[in-house]
């Protein structure tokens, strides 16, 4: 019996070693371990053994069965692995073929810059506020201290609906609306559409976009204004950007200044874009809110002071993306929009 068992084990292992397919291995399993398999049949002969030998042989037979089962399993696994690898090899694809899933959409570059600016100030504690595109002469000029004969009020500069209403020429009327409704401390940013009587050409558009900030509180100084602008310019254009504050004149601020920023092309080295001055001119206008403007809104200029600054978003967008024609921003050519 023992010899027979060993023989079975030996020949089975040998056979297992040589097979290559799942079918063959199954055939071997049936041949040895199946209902009519060699090992099964042999075990049936156990009854003819002497009583004391039975447990020994039984144990041995089980061992052989286990060994064979393990070998078969192992071989099966090996064969499956080979087959799987073959299949995977067949499934190889060309990964250089472009992806096939709908693209996400595109944000309009101008509005993207606008929203980024708003978010930047939102993080700095400014409320994002909007105002109407059609506003009153009072909000757009009078309350902002524009002299009655200021040329900007002319019909050749401003679009009017009637004697009292106009298309706002700046985002500043939003300042007036906020200051009339809200007590200091005030910290707002307002961006949006503005309109001026300009024929369309590559640098002019009757509709353009401005952004401006207003802070009103006790003890607000020009030094604070400089700090805020410096901070914002660095956030927007990078840490290596410098600013230059030039005294200027606006009706609604006193003192007033224009701010030049290091040339966005050469970063101040001097190049053709900045006429070798190293500065991008007049990027921002700013100043301390004129006491009359505060008064017009019911805020006591002896208690509160404030600063305001603003800029053209269209120009910033154009400089940032090297867009040379403002018309592109409003034509909405898909080939243009696709690039952002």
């Amino acid at each position: 019996m023992e010899e027979k068992l060993q023989k079975i084990q030996k020949s089975a292992i040998k056979e297992i070693k040589n097979v290559e397919t799942k079918e063959e291995i199954e055939r071997i399993r049936v041949k040895y371990l199946g209902k009519k398999g060699e090992l099964t049949l042999l075990l049936r002969e156990m009854g003819s053994l002497p009583k004391e030998k039975r447990p020994i042989i039984g144990k041995m037979a089980n061992e052989v069965r286990t060994i064979l089962e393990k070998n078969i399993e192992k071989k099966k696994y090996e064969i499956e692995n080979v087959e799987k690898n073959k299949r995977l090899e067949k499934e190889k694809i060309d990964i250089s073929i472009p992806g096939d899933f709908p693209d996400v959409g595109k944000r309009h570059p101008l509005l993207k810059v606008k929203e980024e600016l708003e978010d930047l100030f939102l993080k700095m504690g400014y409320d994002v506020v909007e105002g109407p595109e059609i506003d009153t002469v009072e909000h757009n000029f009078d309350a902002l201290n524009a002299p009655p004969d200021h040329p900007s009020r002319d019909k050749s500069d401003t679009f009017y609906i009637n004697d009292e209403l106009l298309l706002r020429t700046q985002t500043s009327p939003v300042q007036i609306r906020v200051m009339k409704e809200q007590k200091p401390p005030i910290r707002i940013v307002s961006a949006g559409r503005t309109f001026r009587f300009d024929e369309v050409d590559d640098t002019h558009s009757p509709m353009f976009h401005q952004m401006e900030c207003l802070v009103v509180d006790k003890n607000v100084t020009l030094a604070n204004l400089k700090d805020s602008i410096n901070h914002f310019v660095k956030e927007l254009f990078g840490d290596d950007m410098k600013t230059r504050f030039r005294p200027h004149n606006f009706p609604f601020t006193e003192p007033s200044a224009e701010v030049d920023v290091s040339c966005l092309v050469c970063k101040g080295e001097g190049c053709e874009a900045c006429s070798y001055t190293g500065w991008s001119m007049e990027l921002l206008g700013c100043g301390m809110v004129h006491p009359k403007v505060l008064e017009n809104c019911g805020i006591d200029p002896n208690v509160y002071s404030g600063y305001a600054f603003g800029m053209g978003i269209d120009r910033v967008t154009m400089v940032k993306h090297k867009i040379n024609d403002i018309r592109l921003l409003f034509e909405n050519d898909i080939r243009f929009l696709k690039q952002f």
Binding site: G105, V128, P206, N224, H248
Partner: protein, 793 residues
């Protein structure tokens, strides 16, 4: 404003180089736009005297010119016509290089050698608009004795720099050499010298020449100051005078006009000279024009006047348009003998409006239209007399006629040094503030912790404390103020609810692959026709711009859709065959309130390989984000849209938007080939309806039972009607019902269709039994049979 440095130096010590000067001026508020270098590198060009002129034997149009250059004599050939013997002219001799790059060599002209070239202003690099009449189209005639052989660069002062300055609206005093002189002195901290005004000889009496001067409209003319000059010899100005005003951008005319222009440039006060002999009655009346009056101005154009325009007139006719331009008939001419100098202060607004109405802007009007000092008229008038006397162009008549009011009150403004430092965020000492103000000729003193400043008449812009603070700040230099972070509580920025909804809409639409566009707020009223808007539709009730930039920009849009179609049309015609676009923007609605309503909308446009359901999918994705219930309702009557493919979007019985396929007629109007789908939704309505809260519902534990139902109904019955009706039955445990197939054709009667729905039943607390579901199924079928005449297929 063009300021030649050599001229500026007459009033102020400039102890630095041009770059630094330019920076200093810029950083104290006088922005230098550009620095013009006058040095054109002209060499070997000298003054010569024409000793003899001969005609060229071989050429009719050429002359032989013999020129004496002092140390040598040259012979040259010229085609110029404006030269005579004994004229002094610039001669470029062999080796000369001119600004246009021309190099002068000995050249043969039809058999005769030319040893040089006579030069014109243009050839020496001067803009032709500045060239005086007698030298135009020809050689520069130097009308005075000049040392022969002298370098032309020195004679014509073709060297040094000119600053091109940007002068802000509030500083008309800086439209003058003395104004810039004061600024320069303050920013460089050097001396400023006002010119000495002194007339040497005065004769007769002004009243012998002028009958009367009368200001009839005092509201438009605060002061009229004038003097008379007799024995006038009108002719070209001396070279130095010509060259000075040319460098400041004014073309020389004759000595009298040049003198008035010179003084205008120097002191900032425009002047005018009349030929006194042409004045009827020897009177001057400053009055508004009468309706129907006309005048021929200096530029020989006839101009119609109206009753808002201020004019200078004699007894009967207009002599000039006050502050804008003189009249042709009273102009100073070669034969003028006695002239009247006008130095007057006119109302700025009136001058500006008149100049605008007539489309006539001059150096004079650009100054007169601002708030000028009415004291400067005295100095300006006397200064021009002094100048005319000194160049020997006339004899000054004694006495002046000074009409109108002198600004008597000296205005004082006070400033607390502490307020100044508080606003600037600085620590500037009182003495420094006083020094700065005084350096700007704002006479200031410290009194009881206040600085009291006497405001000079030329600084009308200084009205309140903040104005003085600006003066201190800008001369101290904004660049010298150290930035300091804002103090106070840290605030948290916020956004309006409407903006949050808008931002969310944008994010959904970008995510779905749409491109964002942005278009003008104003459109042409014709767009409403192109968009087939019915005549009585409220969309046509638009706000109109009273002074539009042409019809295309004349009405405020009431809908975003026409612009969307324009953009689609443009892209489609560029050969881009499909696109998904959206715009979020305001529309404008006439209202009873003062300000029109501004309604923010989102428009969505799709064309090319899409259909109604692609657009509907986008709309559903968008609206589902906001968690409220809405329905699509059939809409057949909107003329811009396809009658069978349009839906209103409704929530709580209120229309929130519209979507559908564009009517082929409208597509035709916009020349779009592809079928086009548009939606427009009111963002305020989304805001009103949105529900913020989302509550978690437990995920089902028990299995569902699914039943399909297939029915045949009339073609008119909508898939959604059936779903709505079934949902309205509120059947217990019916989780959802969805359409999965529509079939028409074989085995289905004409005019009917077969609809197949899947219904999912599920209980939250047990596994449903078949029998329970069967009952519900039967109930639904019965209902559909009854309501829709449905037959089970």
């Amino acid at each position: 404003m063009l300021v030649p440095i050599n001229w500026l130096k007459e009033y102020v010590d400039i102890n630095t180089d041009i770059r630094n000067l330019s920076d200093k001026l810029t950083m104290t508020g006088t922005h230098v736009d550009s620095i013009i270098n006058m040095d054109k590198n002209i060499k070997n060009t000298y003054v010569g005297k024409i000793t003899k002129l001969e005609s060229h034997p071989n050429a009719d149009k050429l002359q032989i010119v013999y020129v004496d250059l002092g140390d040598k004599k040259v012979k040259l050939i010229t085609g110029a016509k404006n030269i005579r013997e004994n004229d002094f002219v610039p001669v470029a001799i062999e080796g000369a290089v001119l600004p246009n790059g021309m190099e002068i060599e000995r050249t043969d002209f039809r058999g005769i050698e030319s040893q040089g070239m006579l030069c014109s202003y243009e050839e020496l690099g001067i803009d032709s608009s500045l060239v005086p009449k007698e030298s135009r189209d020809g050689i520069i005639i130097i009308n005075e004795e000049v040392e022969l052989g002298k370098d032309i660069v020195d004679v014509l002062d073709l060297k040094g720099y000119i600053l091109d300055l940007e002068i802000t609206f509030n500083r008309p005093d800086c439209l003058s050499m003395v104004g810039i002189g004061r600024e320069t002195a303050a920013s460089l901290n050097t001396e400023f010298n006002y010119p000495e005004i002194k007339i040497i000889n005065e004769v007769d009496d002004v009243n012998d020449y002028v009958q009367d001067i009368e200001i009839l409209d005092e509201d438009l003319c605060s002061r009229y100051y004038s003097r008379v000059i007799k024995d006038v010899k009108v002719g070209p100005s001396p070279l130095w005078l010509q060259r000075k005003i040319m460098d400041a951008g004014i073309r020389p005319i004759n000595n009298i006009v040049d003198a008035t222009n010179y003084v205008m440039l120097e002191l900032g006060q425009p002047l005018h000279a009349f030929d006194l002999d042409t004045l009827e009655g020897k009177v001057v009346k400053v009055r508004r024009a009468k309706s129907g009056e006309e005048i021929t101005t200096l530029d020989k154009l006839n101009r119609k006047l109206d009753e808002d325009m201020l004019i200078i007139a004699d007894e009967s006719v207009p002599l000039g348009i006050a502050g804008v331009m003189g009249g042709f008939d009273s102009e100073v001419r070669k034969d003028s003998k006695v002239i009247l100098i006008e130095s007057a202060n006119f109302d700025g607004k009136s001058v500006r409006e008149t100049s605008k109405k007539l489309g006539l802007r001059s150096e004079a009007s650009s100054r007169n239209e601002k708030d000028l000092s009415n004291e400067i008229v005295v100095d300006a008038c006397n200064r021009v007399c002094q100048l005319i006397e000194s160049i020997g162009a006339g004899t000054i008549v004694k006495g002046v006629i000074d009409k109108g009011e002198k600004e008597s009150k000296i205005k004082e403004v006070s400033m607390k040094p502490q307020s100044c430092n508080n606003l600037l965020g600085t620590d500037i000492k009182d003495e420094k503030m006083l020094q700065i103000l005084n350096s700007l000729y704002i006479e200031s003193r410290l009194e009881k912790e206040k600085i009291i400043s006497k405001i000079p008449s030329f600084r009308k812009d200084l009205k309140i404390e903040a104005d003085l603070i600006e003066e201190v700040g800008r001369i101290h230099g904004f660049h010298n103020i150290l930035p300091k972070p804002l103090e106070g509580n840290i605030l948290k920025g916020s956004k309006s609810e409407l903006r949050k909804v808008e931002d969310k809409c944008k994010n959904v639409l970008y995510g779905l692959g749409l491109y964002e566009i942005t278009t003008y707020s104003f459109i042409s009223p014709k767009e409403y026709d192109r968009f087939n808007v019915k005549k009585d539709d409220s969309l046509r009730n638009y706000v109109e711009i009273s002074n539009p930039l042409g019809e295309d920009f004349s009405s405020m849009r009431t809908t975003l859709m026409p612009n969307m179609l324009k953009v689609i049309s443009k892209n489609s015609n560029h050969g881009i065959k499909e696109g998904m676009l959206f715009e979020i923007g305001n529309t404008f609605e006439n209202s009873n309130k003062t300000i029109p309503n501004e309604i923010r909308k989102v428009s969505i446009g799709m064309y090319g390989n899409y259909d109604f359901y692609s657009l509907k999918g986008v709309v559903e994705n968008l609206l589902n984000k906001f968690g409220f219930k809405y329905k699509f309702k059939v809409e057949k009557n909107i003329s811009s849209f396809h009658p069978g493919r349009t839906a209103k979007i409704v929530s709580n019985n209120i229309e929130i938007g519209l979507m559908g396929e564009i009517h082929p007629d409208v597509r035709g109007n916009y020349e779009i080939e592809e079928r086009t789908y548009l939606a427009e939704i009111d963002i305020h309505k989304i805001l009103e309806n949105k529900t913020e809260e989302k509550t978690y519902k437990e995920i089902a534990k028990y299995p569902s039972v699914t039943r399909d139902i297939s029915i045949v109904v009339d073609e008119d019955i909508l898939v959604g009607d059936i779903i709505e009706e079934v949902e309205a039955m509120s059947i217990d445990n019916l989780e959802k019902i969805e359409m999965f197939d529509i079939y028409r054709g074989k085995n289905i009667e004409n005019g009917k269709k077969s609809l197949a729905y899947t219904m999912v039943f599920r209980s939250s607390d047990k596994t449903l039994l078949e029998e329970e579901v069967n009952g519900k199924y039967d109930k639904i079928l019965e209902r559909l049979k009854k309501l829709f005449n449905a037959k089970l297929r």
